[in-house]
Amino acid sequence: MTTVFDPGAAAAGATAAILRDTLHGTARGVVVDSPPGAGKSTLVVRAALELAEAGRPLMVVAQTNAQVDDLVLRLAEKEPGLPVGRLHSSDADAYDRALDDLPAVRTSAKAGDLAGLPVVVSTAAKWAHVKADEPWRHAIVDEAYQMRSDALLAVAGLFERALFVGDPGQLDPFAIVGSEQWAGLSYDPSASAVSTLLAHNPDLPQHRLPVSWRLPASAAPLVSDAFYPYTPFRSGTGHGDRRLTFAAASDGSAPDRVIDEAAEAGWGLLELPARRTPRTDPEAVGAVAAVVRRLLDRGGAAVSERSPGPTPLTADRIAVGTAHRDQAAAVRTALAELGAAEVTVDTANRLQGREYDVTVVLHPLSGRPDATAFHLETGRLCVLASRHRHACIVVCRAGVTELLDDYPSTEPVQLGTEVKFPDGWEANHAVLARLAEHRVAWRS
């Protein structure tokens, strides 16, 4: 007898356990690991509303202003009557003007103005400047794996207990100067907030969201195996629940063939001939732009569980991901020349937490002579390979497998630090092996 996996029930069970520990548990902290698209934001909103309902003053710590604004909007959407404070910096344009239209949201640059509100939301950087006589009863720390330990140190005095939510597979926080001096210390200021928290409080309850609602059935197993080998997750939808179709038939060109492959299989690899190139490889950038142009021209339609009918694949449902900012700039220029300037193009760091129907990725190692730690970082590839709901097309030069074999990881081993599994080398190989099954060669 086989039991049928019910993603809805599994996710609901996990959420219930998390809320139970958060609202009624005795531990000072609860940690929740969430794979890409597993409903982290939904969980944060739900936990915030329940804590507010229980009458516990709540502060919410997010990492960027965009995340904070997004959270406030979601809270207001779910519970329009709940008074929410948006604490912001004193810069011009410190917050999204859309918040001004929400009657229950109060914005201020001074924490004192927001005192007494059931929920106050701000960035970690802003919270660090707040002085409070009385600590908040509860806090929610969002994107806690992207928060640096020193940022948590600056705000941890403000709350008594906290729920830490984040995705361990994404990009680790970084410092712009060397921090080897503190490697191995439990409170290494450049480490992630969660690693410090757990090093000092190993008994805190840890939960995991088991279902990715974003990733399609074609992508979840690969992303789970390559980036979360010890904490696997499933997709919330099955094969065939999502479909991507195009009104215009393929013209036989490489971009069209890779688009068809990706529409069918969820993955597509457009492989350019091996060559060492500068970062802004004009051919690869051109190929990315050509694929995006064809995606728009061919009248794509996405069928998913979200709506009964097909939704058109428009420019706002497509994104291009790169490793470096100059690559993103080059792709933007190329897209503008093709009249597709409205498509989002950004680096992995800035695409974190975002979601699209189709993504086109310029492989971080494409055309490189070497594989540095930056380009091998697991989180970078994981972010780029997990932003899509339907299909992901990777543009890459041939020869990356050989490049990886020429550059095994050689980072110095630091005593006392936790070894991160899988390493970037292995994750890259896993992803490439899978992509190779969906390869389309570029013919120019």
Binding site: V177, Y187, A329
Partner: protein
């Protein structure tokens, strides 16, 4: 590596000479630096073999340990080193100027100005390479917890007086060297590599001889050939012509020259110990002295070329004029020096082995601030560095082609002039991105409004900016505060100044997430002697 440094390296390969990477000197260079060229013993972490040290290029002081595994000889070496370094440091501790510092008043909790002393100048230690900096740190760590007989009569191996103090100072120098742009302790290879781009890898640039060969090759030789010779050429006995800058020595030297000399020294000492009468002892003492002299000569022969190379590097750097903002950064080094001087005078214990959570976070924040400040200041001080930032899309320069007066909305309209700049650079500008230009040394900000038209035939684009501040309080902008048509301007996408970060809790307020307060500091013992420490 940035695009401009890749280009400079390609050019260096093409021309056979290092190319300038800066037009001015971006690091402070003392008029009287203390140069320190240490050597260490292979396979014995922290057992120095010898050093050349001093402030006079023609008269370095040679210090030598004729048996590096002998603790007493090692202490004698460190004691001698203290005799050179500490008087040099003390020479800067006396002359002070009055300065102000903002402190929190312990009673009222308000920020108030306090009159304090600031040393008028500070010492500067120069070592040949980055490994030398690490070695200074290691020496500091190995000495600062030692106890002298006076401090602790029970100490099994009391350190000579002043050795622990030297350890504290070297630790301070080593720690300060981690701050970007600081100059209390400098590695010559780092400073040279900052100012010149060679045709070799950054790893190879750590070889002082090869680096100098690229920067200043002999008249009839290319930099590449000279660098290769510096790295590999050996004499008839198989010894490197240009010994490595240390502290590690060349294995061929260790095996063929040093090991036999040390053995001769050991044998002579054993024989001396076994002497049966005074006459015999006199004889054998002569052998010991001769053996010691032989080791000294060997150490001198390996350190002197590096010593001369460091001074050659100093000469090359002195030819560059000092950048405008170096003085400001050196003042922070002086504050750092003064601060440690005061801590020593106040009888505070040596720096702890490990930073507590709050100290570590504060240090990291300060260094990140300094790094960002250094990057901005170097670009503002040096058109060549700015060119690199422009090439990377982080800045742009051009001519003002139009200025249109505009005002902000609101009850009291303030000037918000629109300035159109024509540039051939390609900055990564998005809508409302802030840009900054230096106006009399202070940053004036503007925001990007948009492009005007497509690029012209020469690749120039028109960028419209809205000037936001530094125009005075009146309705009309102050004289000279708005760029005029025809002006050449340079805007950066990065900020010129760094805001101070948020204040972290005091160490005794360390939160539960970081393990709680660290507790009372306990005096830390020195590393315990192991079997290998005793001969």
């Amino acid at each position: 590596m940035s695009l401009i440094s890749t280009l400079a390296r390609l050019e260096a390969v093409g021309t056979g000479r290092a190319q300038p990477a800066a037009t001015v000197r971006h690091r402070h260079l003392s008029g009287r630096p203390l140069v320190f060229v240490p050597l260490t013993t292979a396979g014995e972490a922290g057992a120095p073999l010898g050093a050349l040290v001093g402030t006079d290029r023609d008269a370095p002081r040679l210090l030598c340990v004729s048996q590096p595994r002998d603790r007493d000889l090692r202490f004698a070496f460190l004691s001698e080193l203290a005799d050179v370094v500490l008087p040099y440091i003390d020479g800067y501790a006396e002359a002070v100027e009055a300065a102000e510092r903002t402190e929190t008043d312990p009673e009222t909790g308000k920020r108030i100005k306090v009159e304090v002393e600031l040393c008028a100048d500070a010492p500067q230690l120069i070592v040949p390479s980055r490994a030398g900096v690490t070695y200074v740190r290691l020496l500091g760590r190995s000495m600062r917890f030692r106890r002298t007989a006076e401090q602790d009569p029970e100490a099994p191996y009391p350190a000579p007086p002043r050795v622990p103090l030297l350890g504290r100072w070297l630790t301070h120098f080593g720690e300060r060297a981690r701050v970007p742009g600081s100059a209390l302790l400098t590695a010559m290879t780092d400073v040279l590599a900052r100012h010149w781009a060679t045709g070799q890898s950054t790893l190879e640039d750590q070889h002082l001889g090869a680096l100098l060969a690229w920067i200043d090759p002999p008249a009839d030789e290319s930099g590449a050939a000279a660098a290769l010779r510096a790295e590999l050429a050996r004499d008839a006995e198989g010894q490197l012509l240009c010994p490595p800058a240390g502290p590690a020595t060349d294995p061929a030297f260790d095996n063929k020259l040093l090991a036999p000399a040390l053995e001769r020294h050991d044998r002579a000492r054993t024989a001396l110990a076994a002497a049966e009468d005074g006459l015999e002892a006199d004889d054998r003492l002569g052998d010991v002295t001769a053996a010691e002299r032989a080791v000294r000569a060997l150490v001198a022969s390996r350190t002197r070329p590096t010593w001369d190379a460091v001074w050659r590097g100093i000469d090359l750097l002195r030819e560059l004029p000092e950048a405008a903002r170096v003085e400001e950064r050196w003042t922070r080094d002086r504050w750092s020096f003064t601060g440690h001087r005061d801590r020593v005078l106040a009888g505070e214990p040596p720096q702890p082995r490990r930073d507590d959570a709050v100290t570590a976070a504060n240090k990291l924040a300060a260094r990140e601030r300094e790094q960002a400040r250094l990057d901005a200041q170097e670009a503002l001080d040096d058109p060549l560095v700015m060119a690199g930032r422009r090439l990377a899309g982080e800045a742009f320069a051009g001519e003002v082609v139009e200025v249109e007066m505009a005002y902000s909305e609101g009850r009291r309209p303030s000037p918000r002039p629109l300035v159109t700049v024509r540039t051939c650079d390609r900055p990564h500008l998005g809508e409302r991105v802030k840009v900054f230009r230096s106006l009399g040394g202070r940053p004036q900000s503007a925001e990007f409004v948009g492009h005007e038209g497509p690029p012209d035939a020469d690749g120039g684009v028109l960028l419209v900016l809205r000037v936001l501040d530094k125009m005075g309080r009146g309705k009309e902008p102050e004289e000279g505060s708005v760029p005029q048509k025809g002006d050449t301007v340079c805007y950066t996408l990065f900020e010129h100044d760094q805001r101070g970060g948020a204040k972290l809790p005091d160490p005794e307020q360390t939160p539960w997430t970081h393990g709680g307060p660290p507790g009372e500091p306990v005096p830390e013992p020195a590393d315990r002697p192991t079997g290998e420490d005793v001969l």
